[in-house]
Protein backbone atom coordinates (compact mmCIF):
# COMPACT_ATOMS: atom_id res chain seq x y z
CA UNK A 1 0.00 0.00 0.00
CA UNK A 2 2.66 2.43 1.02
CA UNK A 3 4.91 1.32 -1.79
CA UNK A 4 2.16 1.95 -4.28
CA UNK A 5 1.69 5.41 -2.98
CA UNK A 6 5.37 6.24 -3.20
CA UNK A 7 5.60 5.33 -6.82
CA UNK A 8 2.44 7.10 -7.91
CA UNK A 9 2.74 10.08 -10.22
CA UNK A 10 2.27 12.91 -7.78
CA UNK A 11 2.28 16.63 -7.72
CA UNK A 12 5.10 17.99 -5.64
CA UNK A 13 5.60 16.17 -2.37
CA UNK A 14 7.65 16.74 0.73
CA UNK A 15 8.36 13.81 2.95
CA UNK A 16 10.47 11.76 5.31
CA UNK A 17 12.00 8.50 4.22
CA UNK A 18 12.93 5.91 6.89
CA UNK A 19 13.71 8.55 9.38
CA UNK A 20 14.72 7.77 12.90
CA UNK A 21 15.45 10.55 15.30
CA UNK A 22 16.06 10.61 19.00
CA UNK A 23 16.87 12.92 21.86
CA UNK A 24 19.32 11.57 24.44
CA UNK A 25 18.99 7.86 24.02
CA UNK A 26 15.34 7.45 23.24
CA UNK A 27 13.93 7.18 19.76
CA UNK A 28 11.32 9.82 19.29
CA UNK A 29 10.76 8.70 15.72
CA UNK A 30 11.45 5.18 14.69
CA UNK A 31 11.80 4.35 11.00
CA UNK A 32 9.14 6.75 9.82
CA UNK A 33 8.27 7.24 6.17
CA UNK A 34 5.81 10.03 5.62
CA UNK A 35 4.82 12.48 2.91
CA UNK A 36 2.45 15.26 2.06
CA UNK A 37 1.53 16.51 -1.42
CA UNK A 38 0.54 19.95 -2.48
CA UNK A 39 -3.21 20.39 -2.43
CA UNK A 40 -3.93 17.93 0.36
CA UNK A 41 -4.26 18.07 4.12
CA UNK A 42 -2.69 15.35 6.25
CA UNK A 43 -3.51 15.04 9.93
CA UNK A 44 -0.98 13.45 12.23
CA UNK A 45 -2.65 12.06 15.29
CA UNK A 46 -1.43 10.15 18.28
CA UNK A 47 -0.84 10.37 21.98
CA UNK A 48 1.09 13.37 23.27
CA UNK A 49 4.82 13.08 23.38
CA UNK A 50 4.98 10.54 20.60
CA UNK A 51 6.94 12.69 18.27
CA UNK A 52 4.39 14.74 16.37
CA UNK A 53 6.34 17.92 17.03
CA UNK A 54 9.60 16.31 16.00
CA UNK A 55 7.98 15.08 12.81
CA UNK A 56 6.85 18.58 11.93
CA UNK A 57 10.18 20.11 12.79
CA UNK A 58 11.96 17.64 10.57
CA UNK A 59 9.57 18.42 7.76
CA UNK A 60 10.11 22.16 8.16
CA UNK A 61 13.88 21.58 8.14
CA UNK A 62 14.72 22.79 11.61
CA UNK A 63 17.39 20.14 11.91
CA UNK A 64 18.54 17.10 9.96
CA UNK A 65 17.28 13.63 10.92
CA UNK A 66 19.71 11.31 12.63
CA UNK A 67 19.07 8.60 10.09
CA UNK A 68 17.03 8.66 6.95
CA UNK A 69 16.35 11.50 4.56
CA UNK A 70 14.03 14.42 4.15
CA UNK A 71 13.05 14.72 0.52
CA UNK A 72 11.39 17.28 -1.69
CA UNK A 73 10.28 15.49 -4.81
CA UNK A 74 12.91 12.84 -4.33
CA UNK A 75 15.74 15.27 -3.68
CA UNK A 76 17.56 14.85 -0.37
CA UNK A 77 17.18 18.32 1.07
CA UNK A 78 20.04 18.01 3.52
CA UNK A 79 22.44 17.10 0.74
CA UNK A 80 21.85 20.46 -0.88
CA UNK A 81 24.00 23.52 -0.40
CA UNK A 82 22.90 25.85 2.35
CA UNK A 83 21.71 28.37 -0.21
CA UNK A 84 19.61 25.80 -2.04
CA UNK A 85 18.21 24.48 1.19
CA UNK A 86 17.28 28.03 2.18
CA UNK A 87 15.30 28.26 -1.04
CA UNK A 88 13.41 25.10 -0.05
CA UNK A 89 12.85 26.43 3.46
CA UNK A 90 11.39 29.56 2.05
CA UNK A 91 8.58 27.57 0.53
CA UNK A 92 7.46 26.34 3.94
CA UNK A 93 5.39 27.82 6.71
CA UNK A 94 4.69 26.83 10.32
CA UNK A 95 2.06 27.60 12.92
CA UNK A 96 3.02 26.64 16.45
CA UNK A 97 0.86 25.77 19.39
CA UNK A 98 1.56 29.25 20.73
CA UNK A 99 1.23 32.22 18.45
CA UNK A 100 4.80 33.46 18.99
CA UNK A 101 4.06 36.83 17.46
CA UNK A 102 6.68 39.56 17.31
CA UNK A 103 6.35 42.55 19.57
CA UNK A 104 5.06 44.77 16.75
CA UNK A 105 1.89 45.54 14.83
CA UNK A 106 -0.17 42.85 13.17
CA UNK A 107 0.80 44.27 9.83
CA UNK A 108 4.49 43.98 10.64
CA UNK A 109 4.06 40.42 11.83
CA UNK A 110 2.15 39.27 8.80
CA UNK A 111 4.46 41.13 6.45
CA UNK A 112 7.60 39.59 7.92
CA UNK A 113 7.84 36.72 5.48
CA UNK A 114 7.79 39.04 2.49
CA UNK A 115 10.15 41.41 4.22
CA UNK A 116 12.92 38.88 4.65
CA UNK A 117 12.60 37.73 1.08
CA UNK A 118 13.71 41.13 -0.14
CA UNK A 119 17.30 41.97 -0.77
CA UNK A 120 19.04 44.11 1.84
CA UNK A 121 18.92 47.28 -0.17
CA UNK A 122 15.22 46.93 -0.79
CA UNK A 123 14.67 46.22 2.87
CA UNK A 124 16.42 49.43 3.82
CA UNK A 125 14.53 51.51 1.28
CA UNK A 126 11.27 49.93 2.34
CA UNK A 127 11.94 50.52 6.00
CA UNK A 128 12.93 54.10 5.48
CA UNK A 129 9.89 54.92 3.41
CA UNK A 130 7.50 53.33 5.83
CA UNK A 131 9.15 54.21 9.10
CA UNK A 132 7.01 52.69 11.78
CA UNK A 133 4.14 51.79 9.51
CA UNK A 134 5.01 48.40 8.16
CA UNK A 135 3.94 46.71 5.00
CA UNK A 136 0.50 47.89 3.86
CA UNK A 137 0.42 45.42 1.04
CA UNK A 138 -2.11 43.31 -0.74
CA UNK A 139 -0.62 40.03 0.48
CA UNK A 140 -0.90 41.07 4.09
CA UNK A 141 -4.50 42.17 3.73
CA UNK A 142 -5.47 38.99 1.89
CA UNK A 143 -3.77 36.76 4.43
CA UNK A 144 -5.63 38.54 7.21
CA UNK A 145 -8.88 38.15 5.35
CA UNK A 146 -8.35 34.41 5.32
CA UNK A 147 -8.58 34.43 9.09
CA UNK A 148 -11.17 37.18 9.27
CA UNK A 149 -8.96 39.83 10.87
CA UNK A 150 -8.40 42.32 8.06
CA UNK A 151 -9.53 45.26 10.20
CA UNK A 152 -6.81 44.58 12.77
CA UNK A 153 -3.82 45.44 10.63
CA UNK A 154 -2.57 48.31 12.75
CA UNK A 155 -3.15 46.79 16.14
CA UNK A 156 -0.20 45.82 18.26
CA UNK A 157 0.36 42.10 18.74
CA UNK A 158 0.30 42.50 22.48
CA UNK A 159 -3.28 43.78 22.45
CA UNK A 160 -4.72 40.66 20.80
CA UNK A 161 -6.59 37.89 22.54
CA UNK A 162 -5.19 34.35 22.39
CA UNK A 163 -7.49 33.34 19.60
CA UNK A 164 -6.84 36.45 17.58
CA UNK A 165 -3.11 36.03 18.03
CA UNK A 166 -3.19 32.49 16.72
CA UNK A 167 -5.20 33.59 13.73
CA UNK A 168 -2.61 36.27 13.01
CA UNK A 169 0.07 33.58 13.33
CA UNK A 170 -1.72 31.64 10.64
CA UNK A 171 -1.97 34.69 8.40
CA UNK A 172 1.72 35.33 8.96
CA UNK A 173 2.64 31.83 7.87
CA UNK A 174 0.77 32.00 4.57
CA UNK A 175 1.28 35.65 3.62
CA UNK A 176 4.40 34.89 1.62
CA UNK A 177 2.64 32.18 -0.35
CA UNK A 178 4.40 29.01 0.79
CA UNK A 179 3.85 25.64 -0.83
CA UNK A 180 3.63 23.67 2.39
CA UNK A 181 2.18 24.57 5.75
CA UNK A 182 2.69 22.80 9.04
CA UNK A 183 0.50 23.31 12.08
CA UNK A 184 1.49 21.92 15.47
CA UNK A 185 -1.65 21.51 17.61
CA UNK A 186 -2.80 24.94 16.45
CA UNK A 187 -6.16 25.04 18.16
CA UNK A 188 -5.58 23.18 21.42
CA UNK A 189 -5.71 26.43 23.40
CA UNK A 190 -8.54 28.03 21.43
CA UNK A 191 -12.28 28.30 21.93
CA UNK A 192 -14.64 26.66 19.40
CA UNK A 193 -15.21 29.83 17.42
CA UNK A 194 -11.54 30.53 16.79
CA UNK A 195 -10.98 26.85 16.16
CA UNK A 196 -13.61 26.97 13.45
CA UNK A 197 -12.04 30.04 11.86
CA UNK A 198 -8.69 28.35 11.78
CA UNK A 199 -10.06 25.13 10.32
CA UNK A 200 -11.75 27.16 7.62
CA UNK A 201 -8.47 28.85 6.91
CA UNK A 202 -6.79 25.47 6.59
CA UNK A 203 -9.39 24.56 4.04
CA UNK A 204 -8.76 27.76 2.14
CA UNK A 205 -5.04 27.11 2.12
CA UNK A 206 -5.49 23.59 0.87
CA UNK A 207 -7.80 24.84 -1.88
CA UNK A 208 -5.09 27.27 -2.91
CA UNK A 209 -2.76 24.36 -3.52
CA UNK A 210 -0.77 24.19 -0.32
CA UNK A 211 0.24 20.89 1.19
CA UNK A 212 -0.90 21.03 4.81
CA UNK A 213 0.14 18.87 7.76
CA UNK A 214 -1.77 19.29 10.98
CA UNK A 215 -0.62 17.61 14.16
CA UNK A 216 -3.55 17.28 16.51
CA UNK A 217 -4.87 15.25 19.37
CA UNK A 218 -8.41 16.18 18.49
CA UNK A 219 -9.82 13.27 16.52
CA UNK A 220 -12.82 15.21 15.38
CA UNK A 221 -10.66 17.96 14.02
CA UNK A 222 -8.66 15.42 12.10
CA UNK A 223 -11.85 14.08 10.67
CA UNK A 224 -13.04 17.55 9.70
CA UNK A 225 -9.95 18.78 7.92
CA UNK A 226 -7.88 15.86 6.71
CA UNK A 227 -7.67 14.05 3.40
CA UNK A 228 -5.22 11.55 4.81
CA UNK A 229 -4.43 10.61 8.37
CA UNK A 230 -1.21 9.34 9.91
CA UNK A 231 -1.29 7.68 13.30
CA UNK A 232 1.92 8.01 15.29
CA UNK A 233 2.22 5.76 18.34
CA UNK A 234 5.43 5.39 20.32
CA UNK A 235 7.46 6.87 17.52
CA UNK A 236 6.16 4.56 14.80
CA UNK A 237 3.79 5.39 12.03
CA UNK A 238 1.36 2.56 12.55
CA UNK A 239 -1.30 3.80 10.16
CA UNK A 240 -1.19 6.14 7.19
CA UNK A 241 -3.95 6.44 4.61
CA UNK A 242 -7.16 8.15 3.52
CA UNK A 243 -9.03 9.62 6.46
CA UNK A 244 -12.19 7.70 6.07
CA UNK A 245 -10.48 4.36 5.91
CA UNK A 246 -8.23 5.04 8.89
CA UNK A 247 -11.10 6.09 11.01
CA UNK A 248 -13.52 3.31 10.11
CA UNK A 249 -11.24 0.39 9.36
CA UNK A 250 -7.77 0.89 10.75
CA UNK A 251 -5.43 -2.02 10.10
CA UNK A 252 -3.42 -1.80 13.28
CA UNK A 253 -5.25 -2.77 16.47
CA UNK A 254 -3.42 -0.11 18.46
CA UNK A 255 -4.69 2.48 16.03
CA UNK A 256 -8.14 1.14 16.45
CA UNK A 257 -7.77 1.38 20.19
CA UNK A 258 -6.51 4.94 19.98
CA UNK A 259 -9.25 6.04 17.66
CA UNK A 260 -11.81 4.45 19.84
CA UNK A 261 -10.41 6.46 22.67
CA UNK A 262 -9.14 3.66 24.78
CA UNK A 263 -5.49 4.51 24.72
CA UNK A 264 -4.57 6.79 27.53
CA UNK A 265 -2.71 9.94 26.67
Amino acid sequence: MMQQWLERETSEALGLRTVSHGFDDTDVLDDVTFSVERGETVAVIGPSGTGKTTLLRLLSLFYPPETGTVEMDGTDVWALSERDRLDVRRRLGMVFQEANLFDATVRRNVGYGRHIRRGWRDRLDHWLSRLGGGDASREVTEALETVGLSEMETQSAGSLSGGEAQRVAFARAIAYDPDFLFLDEPTSDLDPRNTAVLEDAIGTARARGLGVVVATHDMNQAERVADRVAVLVEGRLIEFGPAERVFTEPDDPRARKFIDGELVY
Binding site: R89, G93, M94, F102, D103, A169, R172, Y176
Partner: protein
Protein backbone atom coordinates in the same frame (compact mmCIF):
# COMPACT_ATOMS: atom_id res chain seq x y z
CA UNK B 1 41.12 80.26 35.23
CA UNK B 2 37.87 81.67 34.10
CA UNK B 3 35.78 82.18 37.20
CA UNK B 4 34.36 85.03 39.23
CA UNK B 5 35.95 83.98 42.48
CA UNK B 6 39.20 85.82 42.06
CA UNK B 7 39.62 89.49 41.40
CA UNK B 8 41.71 89.01 38.32
CA UNK B 9 39.25 86.66 36.60
CA UNK B 10 36.90 87.67 33.83
CA UNK B 11 33.24 88.39 34.35
CA UNK B 12 30.77 85.58 33.91
CA UNK B 13 27.96 85.58 31.38
CA UNK B 14 24.41 84.99 32.47
CA UNK B 15 24.30 81.47 31.16
CA UNK B 16 21.03 79.96 32.23
CA UNK B 17 17.79 81.50 33.31
CA UNK B 18 17.94 79.41 36.46
CA UNK B 19 21.11 80.76 37.94
CA UNK B 20 21.27 84.50 37.78
CA UNK B 21 24.96 84.54 38.42
CA UNK B 22 26.37 81.39 36.84
CA UNK B 23 30.00 81.40 37.89
CA UNK B 24 31.54 80.00 34.73
CA UNK B 25 32.10 81.46 31.33
CA UNK B 26 29.79 80.16 28.66
CA UNK B 27 32.57 79.08 26.35
CA UNK B 28 34.20 77.06 29.11
CA UNK B 29 31.10 75.14 30.08
CA UNK B 30 30.02 74.61 26.50
CA UNK B 31 33.41 73.24 25.54
CA UNK B 32 33.59 70.81 28.44
CA UNK B 33 30.07 69.61 27.71
CA UNK B 34 31.09 69.12 24.08
CA UNK B 35 34.12 67.09 25.06
CA UNK B 36 32.13 64.99 27.54
CA UNK B 37 29.46 64.23 24.95
CA UNK B 38 31.86 63.59 22.12
CA UNK B 39 33.95 61.16 24.15
CA UNK B 40 31.17 59.27 25.90
CA UNK B 41 28.69 59.11 23.02
CA UNK B 42 31.33 57.91 20.58
CA UNK B 43 32.60 55.33 23.04
CA UNK B 44 29.09 54.03 23.71
CA UNK B 45 28.23 53.93 20.02
CA UNK B 46 31.28 51.85 19.14
CA UNK B 47 30.72 49.76 22.22
CA UNK B 48 27.13 48.97 21.23
CA UNK B 49 28.22 47.91 17.75
CA UNK B 50 30.64 45.47 19.35
CA UNK B 51 28.48 44.41 22.28
CA UNK B 52 25.41 43.29 20.35
CA UNK B 53 27.13 40.70 18.18
CA UNK B 54 29.10 39.48 21.18
CA UNK B 55 25.94 39.18 23.26
CA UNK B 56 24.26 37.24 20.44
CA UNK B 57 27.26 34.95 20.10
CA UNK B 58 27.55 34.28 23.79
CA UNK B 59 23.82 33.87 24.18
CA UNK B 60 23.15 31.51 21.33
CA UNK B 61 26.21 29.59 20.34
CA UNK B 62 28.76 27.32 21.90
CA UNK B 63 32.46 27.86 21.49
CA UNK B 64 35.58 27.02 23.44
CA UNK B 65 36.31 29.61 26.08
CA UNK B 66 32.72 30.75 26.35
CA UNK B 67 32.78 30.49 30.13
CA UNK B 68 35.84 32.70 30.18
CA UNK B 69 34.13 35.34 28.08
CA UNK B 70 31.11 35.37 30.36
CA UNK B 71 33.34 35.73 33.41
CA UNK B 72 35.18 38.54 31.66
CA UNK B 73 31.93 40.38 30.97
CA UNK B 74 30.81 40.09 34.57
CA UNK B 75 34.14 41.18 36.01
CA UNK B 76 34.45 43.95 33.50
CA UNK B 77 31.24 45.57 34.66
CA UNK B 78 32.74 46.59 37.93
CA UNK B 79 36.30 47.18 36.88
CA UNK B 80 37.77 50.33 38.46
CA UNK B 81 37.97 53.14 35.97
CA UNK B 82 41.36 54.33 37.25
CA UNK B 83 42.88 50.96 36.53
CA UNK B 84 41.51 50.98 33.00
CA UNK B 85 42.93 54.48 32.63
CA UNK B 86 46.37 53.36 33.72
CA UNK B 87 46.38 50.42 31.34
CA UNK B 88 45.25 52.54 28.40
CA UNK B 89 47.79 55.23 29.29
CA UNK B 90 50.52 52.68 29.23
CA UNK B 91 49.30 51.36 25.91
CA UNK B 92 49.12 54.72 24.15
CA UNK B 93 52.18 56.23 25.79
CA UNK B 94 55.23 56.92 23.69
CA UNK B 95 56.81 53.83 25.14
CA UNK B 96 53.75 51.63 24.78
CA UNK B 97 52.60 49.39 21.93
CA UNK B 98 50.32 52.05 20.44
CA UNK B 99 52.83 54.84 20.87
CA UNK B 100 53.15 55.60 17.17
CA UNK B 101 49.58 56.82 16.98
CA UNK B 102 50.29 59.81 19.21
CA UNK B 103 47.17 59.24 21.27
CA UNK B 104 48.33 60.22 24.72
CA UNK B 105 46.39 63.14 26.19
CA UNK B 106 43.84 63.10 23.37
CA UNK B 107 40.09 62.68 23.25
CA UNK B 108 40.57 59.56 21.17
CA UNK B 109 42.49 57.87 23.98
CA UNK B 110 39.64 58.79 26.28
CA UNK B 111 37.22 57.14 23.88
CA UNK B 112 39.29 53.98 24.02
CA UNK B 113 39.26 53.83 27.81
CA UNK B 114 35.54 54.57 28.03
CA UNK B 115 34.91 51.92 25.40
CA UNK B 116 36.62 49.43 27.69
CA UNK B 117 34.48 50.59 30.60
CA UNK B 118 31.13 50.61 28.81
CA UNK B 119 31.37 47.41 26.78
CA UNK B 120 31.01 44.88 29.60
CA UNK B 121 27.96 46.73 30.90
CA UNK B 122 26.24 46.92 27.53
CA UNK B 123 27.19 43.36 26.63
CA UNK B 124 26.08 41.96 29.97
CA UNK B 125 22.69 43.62 29.99
CA UNK B 126 22.10 42.91 26.30
CA UNK B 127 23.02 39.29 26.89
CA UNK B 128 20.35 38.99 29.55
CA UNK B 129 17.88 40.74 27.28
CA UNK B 130 18.44 38.62 24.18
CA UNK B 131 18.50 35.33 26.02
CA UNK B 132 15.16 36.12 27.57
CA UNK B 133 13.53 36.42 24.16
CA UNK B 134 11.19 33.47 23.85
CA UNK B 135 12.57 30.62 21.85
CA UNK B 136 9.22 30.24 20.12
CA UNK B 137 9.55 33.68 18.57
CA UNK B 138 13.00 32.84 17.26
CA UNK B 139 11.66 29.56 15.92
CA UNK B 140 8.85 31.42 14.18
CA UNK B 141 11.29 33.70 12.42
CA UNK B 142 13.30 30.70 11.31
CA UNK B 143 10.22 28.80 10.21
CA UNK B 144 9.21 31.67 7.98
CA UNK B 145 12.40 31.21 6.02
CA UNK B 146 14.67 33.46 8.02
CA UNK B 147 18.42 33.10 7.84
CA UNK B 148 20.58 33.13 10.96
CA UNK B 149 21.03 36.86 10.44
CA UNK B 150 17.27 37.37 10.15
CA UNK B 151 16.70 35.48 13.37
CA UNK B 152 19.43 37.49 15.07
CA UNK B 153 17.85 40.75 13.96
CA UNK B 154 14.44 39.61 15.18
CA UNK B 155 15.97 38.68 18.53
CA UNK B 156 17.60 42.07 18.88
CA UNK B 157 14.37 43.78 17.96
CA UNK B 158 12.39 41.77 20.46
CA UNK B 159 14.96 42.54 23.14
CA UNK B 160 15.18 46.20 22.23
CA UNK B 161 13.94 47.62 25.52
CA UNK B 162 16.41 45.61 27.54
CA UNK B 163 19.19 46.51 25.15
CA UNK B 164 18.39 50.21 25.40
CA UNK B 165 18.52 49.91 29.17
CA UNK B 166 21.96 48.40 28.80
CA UNK B 167 23.13 51.13 26.46
CA UNK B 168 21.89 53.82 28.82
CA UNK B 169 23.62 52.09 31.69
CA UNK B 170 26.83 51.99 29.68
CA UNK B 171 26.45 55.65 28.82
CA UNK B 172 25.88 56.45 32.45
CA UNK B 173 29.03 54.65 33.42
CA UNK B 174 31.02 56.44 30.75
CA UNK B 175 29.83 59.97 31.17
CA UNK B 176 30.08 60.00 34.92
CA UNK B 177 33.46 58.38 35.39
CA UNK B 178 36.49 60.47 36.13
CA UNK B 179 39.34 58.05 36.79
CA UNK B 180 40.20 56.94 33.30
CA UNK B 181 39.60 60.16 31.37
CA UNK B 182 41.66 62.09 33.89
CA UNK B 183 44.64 59.82 33.49
CA UNK B 184 44.60 59.32 29.73
CA UNK B 185 43.32 62.77 28.86
CA UNK B 186 45.21 64.96 31.27
CA UNK B 187 42.31 67.33 31.95
CA UNK B 188 43.69 69.84 29.48
CA UNK B 189 42.02 73.15 28.82
CA UNK B 190 43.52 75.85 26.66
CA UNK B 191 44.60 79.17 28.04
CA UNK B 192 41.43 80.74 26.66
CA UNK B 193 39.27 78.33 28.61
CA UNK B 194 38.37 76.04 25.74
CA UNK B 195 38.54 72.41 26.73
CA UNK B 196 40.87 70.08 24.89
CA UNK B 197 40.46 66.99 27.06
CA UNK B 198 38.58 68.37 30.01
CA UNK B 199 35.21 66.76 30.68
CA UNK B 200 32.51 67.69 33.16
CA UNK B 201 33.80 65.09 35.57
CA UNK B 202 37.43 66.11 35.40
CA UNK B 203 36.39 69.75 35.69
CA UNK B 204 34.48 68.85 38.83
CA UNK B 205 37.54 67.06 40.11
CA UNK B 206 39.62 70.16 39.42
CA UNK B 207 37.31 72.38 41.43
CA UNK B 208 37.10 69.89 44.25
CA UNK B 209 40.87 69.51 44.40
CA UNK B 210 41.14 73.23 44.89
CA UNK B 211 38.58 73.10 47.62
CA UNK B 212 35.96 74.97 45.60
CA UNK B 213 33.17 72.59 46.44
CA UNK B 214 30.30 74.86 45.57
CA UNK B 215 31.57 75.31 42.04
CA UNK B 216 32.12 71.58 41.84
CA UNK B 217 28.52 71.01 42.82
CA UNK B 218 27.27 73.43 40.20
CA UNK B 219 29.12 71.51 37.51
CA UNK B 220 27.75 68.36 39.06
CA UNK B 221 24.25 69.70 38.60
CA UNK B 222 25.03 70.42 34.95
CA UNK B 223 26.23 66.84 34.51
CA UNK B 224 23.13 65.46 36.18
CA UNK B 225 20.87 67.58 34.00
CA UNK B 226 22.72 66.36 30.92
CA UNK B 227 22.32 62.71 31.89
CA UNK B 228 18.62 63.19 32.64
CA UNK B 229 18.16 64.90 29.30
CA UNK B 230 19.82 62.08 27.39
CA UNK B 231 17.77 59.47 29.22
CA UNK B 232 14.58 61.38 28.54
CA UNK B 233 15.35 61.68 24.82
CA UNK B 234 16.15 58.00 24.44
CA UNK B 235 13.08 56.84 26.34
CA UNK B 236 10.90 59.22 24.37
CA UNK B 237 12.21 57.84 21.09
CA UNK B 238 11.58 54.32 22.29
CA UNK B 239 7.99 54.96 23.23
CA UNK B 240 8.68 55.16 26.92
CA UNK B 241 8.72 51.53 27.81
CA UNK B 242 11.73 50.22 29.72
Amino acid sequence: MIETVSATATVADGFTPLLVDFPFERNYVESIIRVSLYVSLTAVLISTLVSLPVAMLVGFSEFPGKGFVVALINTGMGFPSVVVGLVVLFAVSNQGPLGTFDLVFTKEAMIISQFVLATPVITGVSLAAVTSVEEGVRDAAYAMGGTRVDVALVTIKEARYGIVTGVLAGLGRAISEVGSVLIVGGNIAGADGTSVTRTLTTAIQLEARQGRFELALILGAVLLALVLLINAIVLRLGGGRV
